[in-house]
Structures are given as C-alpha cells and as structure tokens.
C-alpha cells in the first residue's frame, strides 16, 4: 500500500475508533438513564425517586391479580424473582397482560411503596412457537424459558 493511502487509512481508523470511544464513554456515563424502567430490586433499594413519573418493569406474579368487580381497578404485583412491587392501575390492560407475563408500567411510587400506574404496556419475549408446541412444552414440565437462556421479562 503506498504511503499516501496508508496515511488516509490511519485517518479513517482514527475517525471510527475515536468516535466509538467518545460515544462509548458517553453511554457508560448515561447508563442508568438509558434504561427504560426500574426493576423491583432497584425500587426496593430506594433507587427510584418517590412521587416522580417513572417506569417500572417485571413479571406479573402468579395469583396476584385482583380485579375490582365494579370498576376497572386492577391490583397486582410484579417481580424480578428477587423483590416484589405492588401496583395499582385503573384502565384497560393490553391483550398480552397475564400472570407470568412481563409488563412495563408508567406511573408514580407513592409513600406507601405502592406503584400507581397510569399506563401498562405488555412485554413479550423472543420465543415464537405454535400453540401446540407451547402446550407440549408445558405438559412435559418444561417452561418456554427453557428455550432461551435468560428469564425473559
């Protein structure tokens, strides 16, 4: 390679790696702010601000969903398998909302530690399969998560 091209190659590499380093440092510095939601562990540890609009995400605890028979009020708990957060929501839940499913809620944490949500979004995982396969997996005692290495909430 002639010296002129070599010099230009070095400049190009400098642009790419220089930018990558700069952006990388910024992202590391902003790490916490880029997360879309707080996990129940973070909320239990007091990392989430009280009375500010935040998002909290986790898996809906099995058997924790209590619906009010007269209004659209729903109370449930979410977990990251370490801590639990109680949530209260008034409104229509997305179709994918179910016990054992991941959700992300937007709302405020009140003084009693209850998360009052005004928007609930459903999260789904990266597993796709026909219903028969899901049923067969359930029957054999394996969860769908056995297909993926990490719990998908």
């Amino acid at each position: 390679m002639n010296p002129k091209r070599k010099q230009r190659l070095i400049i190009v590499l400098f642009i790419v790696f220089g930018c990558a380093t700069a952006i990388g440092l910024v992202l590391v510095a902003l790490n916490e702010n880029i997360n879309l939601f707080y996990s129940p562990t973070q909320i239990a540890a007091g990392e989430a601000p009280v009375d500010a609009r935040i998002r909290a995400g986790g898996m809906v605890v099995e058997g924790s969903v209590k619906r009010n028979s007269k209004t659209l009020q729903v109370d449930f708990q979410i977990t990251d398998f370490a801590e639990k957060v109680t949530m209260s929501y008034v409104g229509i839940l997305p179709d994918l909302f179910a016990e054992g499913q991941g959700i992300v809620a937007l709302g405020r944490l009140n003084a009693d530690g209850v998360f009052v949500a005004d928007e609930v979004l459903a999260k789904h995982d990266e597993n796709y399969m026909p219903p028969e396969v899901a049923e067969a997996l359930e029957k054999s005692g394996k969860t769908k998560d056995s297909m993926s290495p990490a719990p998908a909430y």
């Binding site: 190009v12 990558a20 796709y128 399969m129 026909p130 049923e135």
Partner: protein, 249 residues
C-alpha cells in the same frame, strides 16, 4: 485479488457486469419474496401468545436487518472512497442511502404497527427504538449532505465521513436490548446460539431475509448504474452507449 479490486473500481466494468447480474437478483428476489410471504402469512402456524399479529415479523425483521447492513456497506464504501479515491465507492454510497432510509422507515413503521396490539403502544423511547430512529436521521443526514454540496467529490468525502461516524450506532442498535432494560425483546436470531423460534416459522423468515437481500442487490445495482451514467456522461463509452440505444455494444 487486487486485480479484481481494481477492476471493481472501474465504473464501466461495474456497469457491464451489474447489467448481467441484475436480472438474476431480480428473479431470485421475486421468487423468494413471493414464496416467503405466502408461506409466512398463510401456512406458518400462529404464535401461542400473539396469535396472528406476530406475522408482521416476516417484514419487520428483514427490513431491520437490511437497514443496518446497508449502513455498514455505506461505511465500508465510504472508507474505500476515502482511502483509495475509488469513484465507484462514492457512487454506491450515494445510490443506496435512500434505499437504506426506506428500509429503516419500513422497520420503524412495521414495528409501530406490531407494537400497538402486542405492547399496547405505537412508540416508546426505549434504547432499541430510539437508536433505530437515530439511524433513520443518519440516513437523512447523508442524503441532505449529498444534496447540499454541489461538487461531487466534496459531497462524497463529507458523506463518507458521516457514514463512518454513524457506524458507531450499529453495535448500539444490535446490543441495545442486552445492555439496557428495553420494552423491545432480545433477538430471536443469533449467530452463535440456537434461534428461539420454531422451525415452522423460522424457515419462511429466513426465506424472506434472503429475498430482501436479493431485492436490495437488484435495486442497488440499478441505482448505482444510473449514478454511473449520470457521473460519467462526458466519457466516450457512455456517449457510445447512448448512441447504440443503451445496448451494450
């Protein structure tokens, strides 16, 4: 290898060889896209959780793959253009930018349409969606620079630098779902691990992905050839080509 590389740098050679490859890519794209779409939309089983609404994956994933691949190709050709002063690399970069922007828009749009019934929202400012939106703006930036600068060589240089700088965004898009908490789920298709998708759904998806790449190959050859004619219009071979009515004499 170097002789092939230098030949590739010749717009005239690319014009000829591209013209020969074009129909084959177009044919492959047509067959694969029709097969993949019919298989995916009509014959692939419904998902256990999302029912039929997951089927938009057959457009969403290939579009998102291409949106990122095209940007990487632009960065590589930008580097080649800067280092070897290869005109063809500049022309390719200019020709594919709007194509990449279209695929990025398609990925964002199908993602929003998919998000509404499954997540419950069209849009959320999570790391994956936001970094993809930044990619769209990077494409717009390249197109705007190209349009704003009169001199073709200066424009090419500016666009190449922007493409190289924007390259940083690609790993951010890819790993955003692993590095941060996002609403978007992690990838189903990975190079190193078993895909987390049932084979009955995976095969039509792979067909669609290959089909999209062939479609892109055909479109990019067409657009690059147009760009070559535009930029080389003063050369003897283009004049001769025009006189023979466009047939390769």
């Amino acid at each position: 290898m170097w002789s092939f590389f230098h030949k590739l740098g010749s717009p005239r050679w690319f014009y000829d060889i591209g013209g020969k490859w074009l129909p084959w890519f177009a044919l492959a794209a047509g067959i694969l896209l029709v097969t993949g779409a019919v298989w995916g939309l009509l014959y692939a089983p419904a998902d256990y959780l999302q029912g039929n609404s997951y089927r938009i994956i057959f457009v969403h994933v290939p579009a998102a793959f291409l949106a990122q691949s095209i940007f990487m190709m632009m960065a590589v050709s930008g580097a080649v253009g800067l280092i070897w002063k290869m005109k063809l690399a500049d022309m390719f970069l200019k020709a594919v930018a709007p194509v990449g922007a279209s695929f990025t828009f398609l990925a964002l749009f199908t993602g929003a349409v998919w998000g509404k019934p499954t997540w419950g929202t069209w849009w959320v400012w999570d790391a994956r969606l936001t970094s993809m939106l930044i990619l769209l703006f990077l494409y717009f930036g390249v197109m705007a620079l190209q349009a704003a600068i009169e001199d073709a060589n200066v424009a090419a240089k500016a666009c190449a630098v922007l493409a190289l700088v924007g390259l940083v965004n690609i790993p951010i898009i890819k790993y955003s779902v692993d590095w941060w908490n996002t609403l978007h789920q992690p990838a189903s298709l990975k190079l190193t691990e078993k895909p987390t998708m049932h084979p009955d759904m995976l095969i039509p998806l792979l067909i669609m992905i290959v089909g999209f790449y062939c479609f892109f190959a055909a479109i990019s050859i067409m657009r690059t050839r147009n760009e070559i004619l535009e930029r080389e219009k003063r050369t003897a071979w283009v004049k001769a080509l025009v006189q023979t009515g466009g047939r390769n004499a």
